[in-house]
């Protein structure tokens, strides 16, 4: 069983405005915004990544230990997935 890889949904319009990522889900017409670490993670999701890969990048680039990075990453991924902003697919 491969690791779950998360990717951005195809129904989004996104803009960078003064360091924030503002997303428009054109299926629902709802706007979202991401700041700081959220923007960093969103960038990584452009190419698709697993929670473990994202958390490692967060731990490397921000002043946070691996355990906290993984917990925060999972929380954000859960929010993004609940809102339909990312989709998952398994890769071997």
């Amino acid at each position: 069983m491969g690791e779950v890889v998360f990717k951005k949904s195809g129904s989004l319009i996104e803009r960078r405005i003064e360091g924030e990522a503002i997303l428009l889900d054109i299926k629902s017409g709802v706007y979202y915004d991401l700041k700081n670490v959220g923007v960093f993670i969103w960038e990584i999701l452009s190419g698709g990544a697993s929670a473990r890969q994202i958390a490692a990048a967060v731990a490397e680039n921000f002043d946070v230990d691996a355990e906290t990075a993984l917990a925060d990453t999972l929380e954000l991924l859960n929010d993004l997935e609940t809102e339909g902003l990312i989709v998952r697919n398994a890769e071997g």
């Binding site: 129904s11 996104e14 706007y31 915004d33 809102e83 902003l85």
Partner: protein, 350 residues
């Protein structure tokens, strides 16, 4: 919390004067001859934006933060390069809205649009009657009713959100219930208004089509005289010392690019920031002295702010600009209609 409520988004973007919605007047050409047309005779205007111009413009708009683009005219489908322009728009990452009379839409074009349906928020179609006689008394174009109805049905069949927009005037006001019924039967969103504005060139013959008070009273409350639903707001947003953020979005989060490429605050305020063929969109948007002056205007500078109906009624300053040549005055035609529905205004005392 990830979700950004509209109010919070508006505040965030308006504070930065970040363009969010841009209307593109693709062409002034039109195949109809509507009695009320604000453009004042829709024909070719020298210096019209080409597909190549749009190819340069669209990435700059995207980079500047624009999310939504509305296509208007004239009739946008009359542009000789419209299919190339549509290709460019649909390849770009914008949320689109189309405003059309529908008469030039054929099945091939609808199928073409439907391949990117997700990117097209809505298609607004102008309909002036539920019969050919009434509709064509406005369009002055025989056969236009049948073509418009056919377009509405093709668009609905293809899964688009179709918004039927009806302007009611002396010659078609009796059709209001039948238009509503036609839309109800088809499950279409419908809205009407009764505001006849003077033509942009100052010609005023169309004002004779305005409805009398007696006829207006027979109609439901028109949507366009009430802007409270357009921009989310809080009560404090309307203090005299506040800027127009919660009242009018012109030059703040919305703008208009006419068929020649002039960047304007809105569709009827002829105060160009400059031309997007001469200077990049984002530079014009942020550096324009005209736009920056508009962004500093205070609510207290406008006559409307001293009216008892404000801010329940906060009509478009552009209409006053068009009607009186002065955006600070109350647009008298709106006052006439509003007073019918809300009663005589009481001027607030200073």
């Amino acid at each position: 919390m990830l979700q950004l409520p509209r109010h919070a988004l508006h505040k965030k973007l308006v504070g930065r004067a970040n363009p969010m919605r841009i209307q593109l007047e693709i062409t002034r050409r039109c195949n109809l001859d509507c009695v009320h047309c604000i453009q004042g005779g829709c024909s070719y205007v020298a210096g019209e934006m080409t597909a190549a111009d749009y190819e340069r413009l669209l990435p700059r708009m995207s980079a500047a933060g624009v999310f939504s683009v509305s296509l208007t005219g004239g009739e946008f489908l009359c542009h000789p390069e419209i299919m190339v322009i549509l290709e460019l728009l649909l390849r770009s990452d914008f949320w689109l809205a189309l405003q059309t009379n529908g008469t030039l839409l054929d099945q091939d074009t609808v199928d073409f649009l439907a391949r990117s349906r997700e990117k097209i928020r809505a298609v607004a179609v102008s309909l002036y009657g539920a019969t050919a006689k009434a509709h064509e008394s406005v369009t002055r174009s025989p056969g236009s009713f049948e073509k418009t109805i056919r377009a509405i049905d093709m668009l609905s069949e293809a899964g688009f959100r179709v918004e039927v927009i009806s302007l009611l005037m002396t010659m078609n006001q009796e059709e209001a219930p039948q238009i509503q019924e036609l839309c109800r039967e088809r499950g279409l969103f419908h809205q009407f208004n009764s505001i006849i504005a003077p033509r942009k060139d100052g010609e005023t013959s169309s004002l004779e089509c305005r409805l009398s008070e007696e006829l207006l009273k027979k109609l439901p409350r028109p949507w366009e005289t009430f802007t409270e639903n357009f921009i989310p707001h809080e009560p404090d947003d309307f203090s005299p010392d506040k800027t127009l953020d919660a009242w009018c979005t012109m030059a703040r989060t919305s703008g208009y690019i006419d068929s020649k490429g002039n960047l304007l605050p809105c569709s009827i305020m002829d105060l160009p920031a400059g031309n997007v063929k001469d200077r990049p969109f984002d530079e014009l948007w942020h550096d324009s002295a005209v736009f920056n002056a508009l962004r500093k205007l205070k609510i207290g500078e406008f006559e409307c702010s001293r009216c008892g109906h404000f801010p329940t009624c906060r009509p478009c300053p552009g209409l006053a600009f068009l009607e009186h040549g002065n955006m600070f005055e109350a647009p008298k035609e709106i006052c006439r209609i509003i007073e019918l529905f809300l009663g005589d205004k009481e001027v607030k005392k200073a």
